[in-house]
Symmetry: C2
Subunit: 425 residues, 2 copies
Amino acid sequence: MNTDLRDAILRAVDEGFDEQIAYTQKLVSFASQRGEEFTIQDFIYDDYAARGFKMDRFEMSEAELTNHEGGAPFAAGHSCAPIVVGIHHPKEEKRRSLILQHHLDVVPVGPEDMWEYSPYGGEIVGDRMYGRGAGDMKAGAGANVYALEALKRIGLQPASTVYLQSVVEEESTGNGALQTFLRGYTADAALIPEPEENKLARACSGVLWFEVEVRGIPVHVRQMGEGANAIDAAYRVIGALREIEAKWNAEKDQHRGFEDEPKPINMNIGIIKGGDWGSSVPAWCRFQARISIYPGQKAQDKLREITDHISNFARGDRFLGQNPPRVTQNGFNAEGYYLEPGSEAENTLARAHEVAFGAKLESFTTPAYLDARVYALYNRIPTLCYGPVSRNVHGFDEYVSLESLRSVTKTMALFIADWCGTEAI
Amino acid sequence: MNTDLRDAILRAVDEGFDEQIAYTQKLVSFASQRGEEFTIQDFIYDDYAARGFKMDRFEMSEAELTNHEGGAPFAAGHSCAPIVVGIHHPKEEKRRSLILQHHLDVVPVGPEDMWEYSPYGGEIVGDRMYGRGAGDMKAGAGANVYALEALKRIGLQPASTVYLQSVVEEESTGNGALQTFLRGYTADAALIPEPEENKLARACSGVLWFEVEVRGIPVHVRQMGEGANAIDAAYRVIGALREIEAKWNAEKDQHRGFEDEPKPINMNIGIIKGGDWGSSVPAWCRFQARISIYPGQKAQDKLREITDHISNFARGDRFLGQNPPRVTQNGFNAEGYYLEPGSEAENTLARAHEVAFGAKLESFTTPAYLDARVYALYNRIPTLCYGPVSRNVHGFDEYVSLESLRSVTKTMALFIADWCGTEAI
């Protein structure tokens, strides 16, 4: 890329950055927890249409998704919000097509009194923009738009097809991203600006979600020996699951990209509910678990390993033997992936990053779910998960670094110009 | 008591028993969980008035109750339903006055699909009447009325004042019973027909209710080491509480009436709730605990022992040391009692029981809360907790034995005639 074009792109990102910040704040202002994403997706639809994209909007199909090996069950709470795709066609297809993707669902805010800043306020203090989803990943969603706007500002547009995909269900199933694949969308590469600390995700784990329910005969607490406390029993099942977690962590040396992670496999008990009355021995307890798996492992194989282990444990337990816990998969059924180094897409991103940051692009392993798995595993295209610095993602006072976002947007604009080529509008 | 009167009373109970069963079913048909007892207490008010009692109805006073050493805090969910007292004055006070008490609040039914019978149906199958509260203690509430009705059926009434007390909050605080004391009610003895297996409660434990809340900084599960899982932390606190439970159980030899109980002190974790999202490390977890204490121990002393133990444990825990658990007393603040054997009231009950059952009256220790503690500890009167056979109290398909109820009602009618004397209506 010639120096003039490069400098013009960098300047254009700077010139549009105030507008980009305001746009990101607008996105943060939508409460878009699971099932609530209708208004933000409608905003996106109208916004992209106004920016000149051709628009496609479609539903997630339970039949199609649950027939696919990477699809997750439609449990209670599954979003019905649409998936939105904005399509840019160049005057002439000159180089390589690209998918720019983001998700706009966010996780719950938790007890609001534990926030110093308003969860949907998008408040800016110094370099930080605060809010649920500010990092994960509304800043990235804004960057997808404003990387393209930077080119427009200097009279250019990509010289190849670009798909701007706005999805939901990233935080619970990954069904939104998978539906774009099932709809037939593909390209020569995909870029997803998740909050990745200005780095490239080299590998990400798969994730399983499941609920465990324990039920048993309750009694008055004075006869506690006769009854069985479902809350105590649930805790014993959690203990058995910790054995699985330890076993899988002990296998990390066999998994490329995970050898140096201190604890690549995390099992999280994210929600627990049980019992109805202080002086009644609880008859029921349910908990929601999330566990990661290594790339290359099949989600259903690992789920079976979990259910078998719970069954074996339960058989040896005086209470659980009579009341076997019920395990229900109620979300992620996702494999992980490993991004082979050396692709032309990665090399292009690395060059752009070096210009924007004046430093080499680093890569790292993330023991989290990424929608990137859909493009890596099923589209089988180079998939670049790369995005800004953030903190407290899924926590309180989540924020994104604005200077990081500015530089990441520069990388993205340069990457698009290089990967797709440019043409005059 | 002469044989003719005795036989007439026994016959009168039999003759009224179908009506008594229908009345008990009517009581069971009221869903009267905590806070819902308005309609059943209004039914009682109208019913007692129609039966000729002078009526008193009053509120539980938060100020009065929380100033009393046996009063429990008014936590969320505390009932506002009134306390109802029906008063019988004889033409001439000849013998000894009596309090007949029952509570009409019931505990939650739990998941309804775990019931074979309808929780509020009062269905009768053979000897059993099923329903939430059938045993605990709507059968007793009916017996209080129909023991007196048996006398009326043969033209008699007690020759002393009788207070028929219908209270609430027995399952959570005992504040209803305590309010009758604070209102000034007292008598020469009290009888409470709780479901006690045709036996007399010799001793009952005190009970404490408290909630423990753990909060901590949550993070995305990929950074689990940085955050702290409040659900895991809550289970560690439960472990520390089990140490208290074991310590107190080891002291049972020092407590009259509890030496032979296999496990006199039960700590029950009755409710647990925590977390908002499967893939977020939970920031909060709350659980509701209930623990018993021995008679003679002060509730506040034992609560302090618990909070001190939790504090000490927390100080040594990497996460809890930074995020001390909050302990809130949110119910029972009750001492237990020991009924001194040999009172005239007990002897009178024993004679009546022997007539009704043809067997000696047995006594036993119950490691549960009983409203009887109010009359034993504060009124300082002989308090007889004695009532029918039941099963699955606080559980599913709770039922009361009707033949047991019939005989218990006979005991009660004989007891009243003997204790209070009789006069022609």
